[in-house]
Subunit: 372 residues, 4 copies
Amino acid sequence: MTHPAAAIAPPPIPAAKIGRVGVGVLGATGYAGAELVRLLRGHPAAAVLALGSRQHAGELLSRHWPSMPDLDIRLEAEPERPEAWRERGVDVIFSALPHTAFASRAEAYLRAGLRVVDLSADFRLRDAAEYRRRYGAEHPAPHLLDRAVYGLTEWCGPELEAAELIANPGCYATAVLLAALPALAGGWLSGAPILANALSGVSGAGRTPSLSTHFVECGGSAAPYKVAEDHPHMGEMLQAMRRAAEGTPSLVFNPHLVPMARGILATVALPLARKIDPEQARALYLSRYSRGDESGFVRVLETGQLPETRHVRGSNRCDLGLRVCGGGRQLLVFAALDNLVKGAAGQAIQNWNRAQGWPEATGLPLAGWTCA
Amino acid sequence: MTHPAAAIAPPPIPAAKIGRVGVGVLGATGYAGAELVRLLRGHPAAAVLALGSRQHAGELLSRHWPSMPDLDIRLEAEPERPEAWRERGVDVIFSALPHTAFASRAEAYLRAGLRVVDLSADFRLRDAAEYRRRYGAEHPAPHLLDRAVYGLTEWCGPELEAAELIANPGCYATAVLLAALPALAGGWLSGAPILANALSGVSGAGRTPSLSTHFVECGGSAAPYKVAEDHPHMGEMLQAMRRAAEGTPSLVFNPHLVPMARGILATVALPLARKIDPEQARALYLSRYSRGDESGFVRVLETGQLPETRHVRGSNRCDLGLRVCGGGRQLLVFAALDNLVKGAAGQAIQNWNRAQGWPEATGLPLAGWTCA
Amino acid sequence: MTHPAAAIAPPPIPAAKIGRVGVGVLGATGYAGAELVRLLRGHPAAAVLALGSRQHAGELLSRHWPSMPDLDIRLEAEPERPEAWRERGVDVIFSALPHTAFASRAEAYLRAGLRVVDLSADFRLRDAAEYRRRYGAEHPAPHLLDRAVYGLTEWCGPELEAAELIANPGCYATAVLLAALPALAGGWLSGAPILANALSGVSGAGRTPSLSTHFVECGGSAAPYKVAEDHPHMGEMLQAMRRAAEGTPSLVFNPHLVPMARGILATVALPLARKIDPEQARALYLSRYSRGDESGFVRVLETGQLPETRHVRGSNRCDLGLRVCGGGRQLLVFAALDNLVKGAAGQAIQNWNRAQGWPEATGLPLAGWTCA
Amino acid sequence: MTHPAAAIAPPPIPAAKIGRVGVGVLGATGYAGAELVRLLRGHPAAAVLALGSRQHAGELLSRHWPSMPDLDIRLEAEPERPEAWRERGVDVIFSALPHTAFASRAEAYLRAGLRVVDLSADFRLRDAAEYRRRYGAEHPAPHLLDRAVYGLTEWCGPELEAAELIANPGCYATAVLLAALPALAGGWLSGAPILANALSGVSGAGRTPSLSTHFVECGGSAAPYKVAEDHPHMGEMLQAMRRAAEGTPSLVFNPHLVPMARGILATVALPLARKIDPEQARALYLSRYSRGDESGFVRVLETGQLPETRHVRGSNRCDLGLRVCGGGRQLLVFAALDNLVKGAAGQAIQNWNRAQGWPEATGLPLAGWTCA
């Protein structure tokens, strides 16, 4: 016996209707790049046609990622003229190269008619001087900064639809901003400093080996780094906060490396201008993130529950837990996400879905892995 | 521009044609049970309709698995009469209950017209006396032993098509048998003892907390246990080996617990009757497992390559590495699989696919996760 | 050739002069209890004479801790009359039993002339009502609360010399208080809430298995718990803060479990009443903790350095890193310690050393392990 | 009250009697080098006077090992003439440099009257041609090979007393040989191949970062490497086996990397010439390793017990578990040790103690850490 009504079933997919769009990925051997490949190959509307690699052109991707042995696709150097890929059917480029490595070529891709989604920091800031201060380098393409859309998806408006150049937010920034913006935009904050602590898995440090990512060094240890006002993500966090509310917020951001492969857990303390109760806090956040049909990726947990990174591993979700304390004058927001999915490749695809006019969740996992 | 030809694209799925088959899962809160749910909900022909739990009936599955928050499905006690679930559309039961917990009720399910896939050890052995010796318990339903098909999928013949009662192999047994059977069935072995060492991730020990699975105890440590001839999987390994080749093989099996969540790595040393060279070994294994179209889950790596558990995490693959040594008189086979997928839930679904007459790979991942 | 002057040599030990003092340990099979045994057996003035266990009396300690196979000592039930142990030469009892398990018998030990060092929470709070609120239980011996000395060693004055009943601080409280008290006692704080976030290794949750300490659950994941004002250590932290400075400080405390066996990393944000610069901060903390001869366990790192838990594993140190931000109006203090040493067994011995009139560092490691 | 008789007390140390011997360590920033420093500073007869580093001369050791902040000792380049260190009182050199990096200078140290303990592979093999085959390099000082004593301590005879040039065994070799030699030397083996599988912690791969030691890659994964007859330790294992028994044993050795910082677990299968029972096996091994007074570092566990690496972390022990199977014709020996202690720095000191004529266990830990 077979029957149509399924309690648990994969969501309807628009594949058959929309055909497939050709995709190129730059920096495909790194963690974010490989995660893009992993997710895009399950995307019903994507056809991955070109994988760029600066160091490994000519090799099979599966040599670098034996977990995907069925991918019989060869890494290649970026073409001199983006039109070469365009002619092979590539319509969008996702760049997972490090900052400053791609930005100077972005314009050529745009001119050739490709959409560009950049996962590096290069197009996140509006101000080239701020970029210089945060990243210690001249911006390679300052004239494009105005054209880029900062893709914190849930906070993007119509500017994301049909966007040609999308700056994908940083993993820490995504967690902290999703946690802070509702209260900030709601005008709830007192003006006292926002304190954001965050824990990151080691994949956030990239795939290039270093002493600080050596198993024996970081395994079994917790370490703060680039604390207070030192982390370059401070720039995009402050910029987004200023957009959401008048005035210059004060922010202290303390990232920590902890021994897990994936995940970010942000603990954001928001000092409030007036007393609130837990129901008000939950109502505000739900009004921001709830979709009615439970389809959204940002989920406000039940009162009393707190997010854990294991629950979002492999998922594009960001789970938020709320807590009111300090006599109602302090709102704590805990945010958990997978740094490689909602913090990188997943959100990039989410943004691309929006720019293409597809349902935002197309090809993206809401559920995470059981254990890993 | 969109275009139909995709270099990397999801495989064609038979969903639209075949409708959906109603599925029930028993023991849904454990690791294997939750992995069944995770995989079945992505299966194009499955509709998960009932989740049984002995201890948590009435609770939401998502309470036990917050990684799947979109699963608005409630755990329930097994019905007194299987017909109750049958009437709700359940056509197949996957039981992930521990051994002896389900077997006495299997017949009722079969009589009610349901197919049964049992992930426990209960229907793996043909001989009730052997069961008693290995598991220290009387078999709850010895008269069914003859009806059960031992589902080491790649070694199953026509008996698996339309099978009503499928005994899913143990995770260790799957790794060791996939590694040893080609040489054994090929008549290559000398008769000297086969030595199989294996490393298992901690999820293999189940979800019930114990001192040996406490993070502080097993983290950062390696430990052998139930070595030599003590592990109960010895029974099904020897039984399958005897089926593959005449005579009683001698087997030493040493399992070890190592600090990873998922994965089995088996190192199987096979003493040979005559000298071989690496090409012969590879040819034999390829002839057994290669599908021509690269669609198979058991993959023989290139000469010189060795499998690693990280490459199969989340995948239904079993990667095999071959090595000839001892002057050509010893064949080493290294096998890596994910104990919860090919070693449990994935192989269970693979068997069910076969029994339903669907393509074996339906709904099952060939690629693994990037990192975890 | 031999020669007397050694660049690196073990510190002089007072053993020969002082003889040995008989020690009993209660709760010797748990993590803190076993750590007491490990450290005390290397203590030049201690002779471990009795090990108490509620559940395992009659068994060898080495059965529970095979890492100490040379310990041919049998666990025993606590004697009905402490005099029985006194007569065998036991002069001091270290109790590593959980809270409420020992306090009712403390008086009998004191009367029998034994010194008592309690590692549980039972004698930390002065106020029985506060105890009830924090621990949800009536205090078993409220009349002793006034007699107990709260042993945050570096902040103890003459009351610790010859103390008979010592309440050893909690691991979190030790980290947070060592970080916050200098600024607080210096009158530097503005009165805005102190925000203390902390990361703990899994041994902090004890040795009794539970789902939250299962390797597969907590491995590779970060999780907040008992946040804001919920953690019972809030009581002792606030009490110690009030002692150090007038007024009622406001404190938010967010503990997180991260996948490491040992270690606490506390990140404490202190809002300041007036602007300071990094040199002032460092000078204040050095004036509090520096010993001139570098012998102290609380070490203020160089400006720009941040502590990591791997650097204090196995050591009785607490490393502090300072950071001024927010335009000089915010002091961040990062504290790293080993929860089983400075956060439990080590500090207990440090307190005992003081009470005995010995050098505080006797038998305690300043250096940590290389890697673990 | 104090009293002399202590149930658990540190062993008597010969310090006062023997003065201190000056020690130099080469390669002090690596894992084995730092472990030497950690152990030697607790050694009652050692005075660490010089630390050599090829890359970090002029820097404080504590910069590389903040876990030892009290070590106010500066790394230096090796002197051009060893006499320079000799004059400062250095009597022995422990070299923890990689193979080929030190051997050419060994003779100069010996001539200058220093004892040399080399932890690299360079002086382990007797035969320069075998060295070339195993390590792919010409031996830098073949004329010294005859003078070196291979320091598998428990198997050394009088040649170790007063030895001037000691070749410290490899970590894998130590585990496999301690497991196999008693049966081999006892003439028990059948001549069929010995099969040795081994699991190693990541510190065994050294401190230089690489992709294979990146936390995200090796964390949560098990991987075989250099299997069958490929690992260079094969050379010293076969050499030592041939010394212990006539004939050329056949050996298959399969090392695996597993996600732990420290530890080796070897599983050695020994095919026997005649049937034995468990008591005979235990008697043979006890006769080899038991000291009567329980002071030995190689410990034969009770029948039925198996060693685990967590029980030897931080200890100089090697725990052995025995198992007879295959109808009495197969002896399994499981060996656990800490690769940085008994597998490197600890055994080096043990050998040095013997060469100095001191009790073998001087300054070496028999007990391991509780948890790590």
